[in-house]
Point group: C2
Chain length 109, copies 2
């Protein structure tokens, strides 16, 4: 990739997280309606792969609805918290109150 | 693409829509933090291209927060409504109340 291509490339949205009341019920619904792959699931979190993005199913007690981006210096947006998969990130509100997660790239596998 | 590849391919999420209070304010914020391209904007709607997906900024009076999928027979999910860009779609709630938009593929450019 040339420098020019790097400059003009766009950022990707790493994942979308939506709150659900019951993880298994939601997995059944998304699996029924769409071709997608469950990469992880337990009683409080699931991670579904689509062709272009991952969808996280979360519970309200653990995570807000959010859009996540992997960035090189997440700490500039606030104090990082460590998640159970080892990644570190910070949640920030956009001007309208939508939650954006900045995930530190160096903590991603 | 072989038949086998078609069978194993995953669906894509076409776009994510999030409600914002002020379209321009939100565009300024996303443009400041991310490499993305504004494909359309007016006072009540904006459409931003990221590397892997589009993000729609919408106002609460017009659209709910939602995830949109392009499908071949959207009408099976309910009565289609026509949008100003000519696409037809229907909004359906997942079991937790998250809004999913099924966009009829034949109405997409």
């Amino acid at each position: 990739m040339t420098k020019n291509e790097q400059n003009t490339s766009l950022d990707a949205i790493d994942h979308i997280a939506i709150q659900v009341a019951n993880i298994q019920e939601a997995l059944d619904w998304y699996g029924k309606h769409f071709k997608c792959t469950i990469e992880y699931q337990d009683n409080s979190w699931a991670y579904i792969k689509f062709a272009n993005i991952h969808l996280a199913l979360v519970v309200a007690s653990q995570h807000p609805n959010h859009l996540a981006f992997i960035v090189d210096n997440a700490a500039k947006y606030g104090s990082l918290q460590t998640h159970r998969d080892g990644t570190k990130s910070v949640y920030v509100d956009d001007p309208a109150g939508n939650t954006i997660e900045f995930v530190e790239s160096s903590t991603c596998k």
